[in-house]
């Protein structure tokens, strides 16, 4: 409670400073004063009255604060923007846009970053580690606006052109296959012979897959279908079991495989469901149902230790339901491409939704939203990915050097248990706090991404506010980002103490 009080005081202080700084730095009426329009004088008078410009800034701040304090009685008032619109309303429209923009990127960056970070830490000082270190430093040094322009050119425009005639040229197949071969050969440890084997196997598999997909014109009509979905589900089952409890845990593996089998059985019923319910709530219900089903299956198969088995089947179920959604979205691809609004060029370079598209079809508009998210998400992911890799790697290396890891190994635990159970869990403690703080910061960082990709979110409001000296608008953006960061810091501290029993919040200093 005391911390919360301090935070409120801080927020009050910094908003006071910024308000005055912004107020003295420019005159909102400057444009009108020099204007020769006959109505200029009138406008000055109205603006002065509406925005209380005759009150000096320090006092005006308290007028603004009175509106903000409405927060505690449930009615927050950010005042009006210059053009008379209510700032609260503008912000209400802008926040979901920005959140949509950063959420996907943050999630992808976290998952990828942590995975790569773990692998590089486990393969410390290997070629893969050096390569990833270089890549992450490179990404760390990239300006986001520069990447965005490149993505627009090469990923959107070129890819759209490629889709006009979706057959992958032989040269590209070779390049892609070699790249993925090198990647996986780097991930897998072993002697030279094994690395070479992996490289060849992966490269050939990749080349074959690309060639088949290209011949079947899969890129024009993507989709998984029941068989591939089943195969992917089985793969997921094995993968999740391995990471979660280890493949030797037979009940867990059986439970996960049962989930995959259930996915095959429910393929056609779910297609029917997808076709006839066009609401997000049904989808969420479906995912929830899968999770419950996973819990049930897990209980059925579990023998001694119920927890890990249930956990495995729940995660498997969740991933499989995501796969099914992906499949459905892929099926929507062909009709989506054929619509007039898209006209065969599906990757958009700008904007947050296609206004020409008929919004009545749920799958169509979802796909449209996702396609608009592709480029910004990649851009933001590339930038923040590097930080997570470095952080995860550093923390995990620290943890792996700890004595209790040595003890765990000495006990004869498997490497998987040591890494996932003992090391990774302890890495998660500092990682969580970083993630929480980052998420608040990324909203500020989205300003540039929004401007490059032409999204109308908080960043746009902010730029508008600055260039037109719109104090109320500026303060609203500031207030939201600042409170987010304050709240995030608070959550981070609380999480830290919840995750790490050695640290207590509010303990005597």
């Amino acid at each position: 409670m005391r911390r919360l009080g301090i935070l409120l005081v801080i927020l009050f202080g910094s908003s006071f400073i910024l308000y005055n700084l912004a107020a003295i730095s420019g005159d909102p009426l400057e444009g009108l004063r020099t204007s020769s329009e006959p109505s200029a004088k009138q406008q000055i008078v109205t603006l002065t009255r509406e925005l209380h410009l005759n009150v000096p800034p320090p006092a005006r701040y308290f007028l603004w604060l009175r509106g903000i304090l409405g927060l505690f009685v449930g009615h927050i008032d950010f005042g009006n923007a210059r053009n008379g619109q209510s700032v609260s309303e503008l912000v209400q429209h802008a926040i979901p846009v920005t959140i949509r923009l950063v959420t996907a990127a943050t999630i992808v960056a976290i998952i990828l970053g942590i995975t790569v970070g773990i692998v590089t830490a486990l393969r410390q000082y290997s070629r893969f580690d050096y390569a990833m270190t270089f890549v992450s430093f490179l990404l760390y040094s990239l300006p986001v606006f520069w990447v965005a322009v490149l993505l627009k050119q090469y990923l959107a425009i070129r890819f759209n052109t490629f889709l006009q005639n979706p057959s992958v040229p032989v040269g590209w197949i070779i390049v892609f296959s070699c790249l993925s071969g090198i990647f996986w050969a780097g991930v897998v440890s072993g002697n030279r012979k094994r690395v070479l084997q992996i490289f060849i196997v992966v490269a050939i598999a990749n080349a074959g897959l690309l060639e088949i997909l290209s011949l079947l014109k899969w890129f024009a009509h993507p989709g998984l279908g029941p068989i591939f979905l089943f195969l992917a589900a089985v793969g997921t089952a094995f993968g999740v079991t391995q990471v979660s409890v280890g493949i030797r845990n037979r009940p867990a593996l059986k439970a996960a495989l049962a989930m995959a089998a259930l996915a095959l059985v429910s393929y056609y019923p779910s297609q029917y469901l997808f076709k006839h319910s066009q609401k997000l709530s049904t989808l969420l219900l479906m995912v929830l149902f899968t999770i419950l089903l996973g819990a049930l299956v897990g209980r059925l198969f579990a023998k001694i230790d119920r927890g890990p088995v249930v956990r495995t089947s729940i995660i498997t179920g969740f991933v499989i339901s995501l796969l099914m959604l992906l499949d459905k979205l892929m099926q929507t691809w062909a009709p989506y491409m054929a619509t007039d609004a898209i006209n065969g060029r599906p990757v958009p370079t700008i904007g947050q939704a296609n206004s020409l598209l008929d919004q009545s079809d749920f799958w169509m508009s979802t796909l449209d939203t996702l396609m608009h998210l592709v480029l910004p998400t990649i851009a933001l992911t590339l930038i923040s990915f590097a930080g997570y890799v470095r952080f995860t790697r550093g923390t995990l290396l620290d943890v792996l050097n700890a004595d209790y890891i040595r003890t765990a190994r000495a006990k004869g635990l498997t490497e998987r248990t040591v890494v996932m159970r003992h090391a990774f869990r302890n890495t998660l403690i500092p990682l969580t706090t970083i993630i929480v703080v980052d998420f608040a910061g990324i909203i500020g960082g989205a300003i540039i991404t929004e401007s490059v990709f032409g999204w109308v979110g908080m960043g746009t409001l902010f730029r508008q506010a600055i260039s037109s000296f719109d104090l109320n608008l500026l303060m609203a953006v500031f207030f939201i980002t600042a409170s987010l960061s304050v709240v995030a810091n608070l959550i981070a501290d609380l999480l830290y103490s919840a995750l790490d029993p050695r640290i207590r919040v509010g303990a005597g200093k």
Partner: protein, 361 residues
């Protein structure tokens, strides 16, 4: 059993290599020498130092440079104010002002290695793009150093004071730090940049520095809190050293690693912040030149004249990348835990040893 054996071998070999390094350290190297040796041994960091020094000299010597009353003439023939005629000859696709830089040797069908009249091409009105990029890179490097110095000094001072004296001073200073942290740097940067942008890039850099010391001050504070409890500080105090002497002679040299490393990170962040601000129009403004500004001006002509986009970006990335690598090298050099690091050769040997002992696994 095999696993157990392997672990033993591993432990033994780690011990051996640690002993080797430890032996070296008893040869009589000072802390500074150890750090220096480690840093020089970090290949990426050394390359980056050379790249950064070279880039800085290259970029600053290209254009006229004023140093007090003296004016040093740049080696490049154009200034950013010059407006030579737009080159139309030999340009593909009806473009004007295309670049003359040629890196393809004659025997491969190119024009041979040479800079030509306008190596990076010309902008819309014919100004030499090479000169513009040089000017922009100068701005970025200047901003980087100013932010590094201002932020570094402020952060160190605030962190040192609050960590050393603790109590009320600490509480007040740390609340003040929290206070600055709540203001996202890009927001404060834009407010400052937009409204004071006409005061010039140095002013902007100075202000950015004023708001970027927070992370550093927290780190320095933590370091001071840790170090002030150690025996050598007590010893110094017993010997009658003043607070000032303890801070500057005893604690600061031990905290310098943390400071230097985070200042380099601050500097690479500053470049990206400055270019990003200039890109959205709130940083360095029009008559002045910045790499971010150049990119934002010519991003739309990417399809027709990609070089206007590539070169500024290339300079941003090389500066930021080399600073990041230097920071990484410094971190490794200052980090006492890095003693466990094995060279590739050692690692190979260890692998061989492991293989031979647990072949049956």
């Amino acid at each position: 059993m095999a696993i157990f054996k392997r672990k033993i071998v591993e432990l033994a070999s780690t011990d051996a290599s640690e002993n080797a390094i430890a032996n070296k350290e008893t040869e009589g190297l000072s802390q500074r020498q150890i750090v220096y040796k480690r840093f020089v041994g970090h290949r990426a960091a050394m390359i980056s130092v050379f790249v950064l020094v070279f880039l800085t000299l290259f970029v600053y010597s290209a254009l006229d440079f004023k140093l007090g009353p003296w004016k040093i003439h740049g080696w490049w023939k154009y200034r950013i104010e010059d407006i030579p005629e737009l080159r139309t000859k030999d340009c593909p696709g009806g473009n004007v002002g295309c670049p003359t830089l040629s890196l393809r040797p004659k025997f491969l069908g190119g024009a041979g290695f040479g800079l030509g009249e306008h190596p990076f091409g010309q902008d819309d009105i014919g100004r030499d793009y090479f000169a513009l990029v040089m000017k922009g890179a100068q701005r970025s490097i200047m901003v980087m150093f100013v932010v590094g110095i201002v932020g570094g000094v402020l952060g160190t001072v605030v962190g040192a004071i609050s960590g050393f004296f603790r109590g009320t001073i600490d509480a007040v200073l740390m609340r003040f730090t929290d206070f600055i942290i709540t203001i996202p740097s890009i927001i404060i940067g834009s407010v400052i940049g937009f409204h004071f942008g006409n005061l010039g890039a140095t002013f902007l850099a100075f202000y950015l520095g004023l708001f970027s010391w927070t992370g550093l001050s927290r780190l320095v504070r933590g370091e001071f809190l840790k170090l002030r409890e150690l025996e050598f500080v007590d010893a110094a105090r017993v010997a009658g050293a003043s607070n000032r002497r303890i801070i500057f002679k005893h604690i600061l040299p031990n905290a310098v690693g943390v400071i230097i490393v985070s200042v380099t990170l601050l500097m690479s962040g500053a470049i990206l912040l400055e270019t990003a601000l200039s890109y959205i129009g709130f940083g360095v403004v029009a008559p002045d030149v910045s790499l971010g500004l150049l990119i934002s001006q010519y991003q739309d002509s990417f399809t027709s004249r990609p070089y206007l986009f590539w070169y500024p970006g290339f300079f941003i990335i090389s500066i930021a990348l080399s600073v990041n690598f230097i920071g990484d090298g410094l971190r490794d050099a200052f980090d006492p835990r890095q003693r466990r690091k094995l060279s590739l050769k050692n690692r190979r040997m260890r692998q061989v040893q492991t293989k031979t002992t647990n072949g049956g696994e």
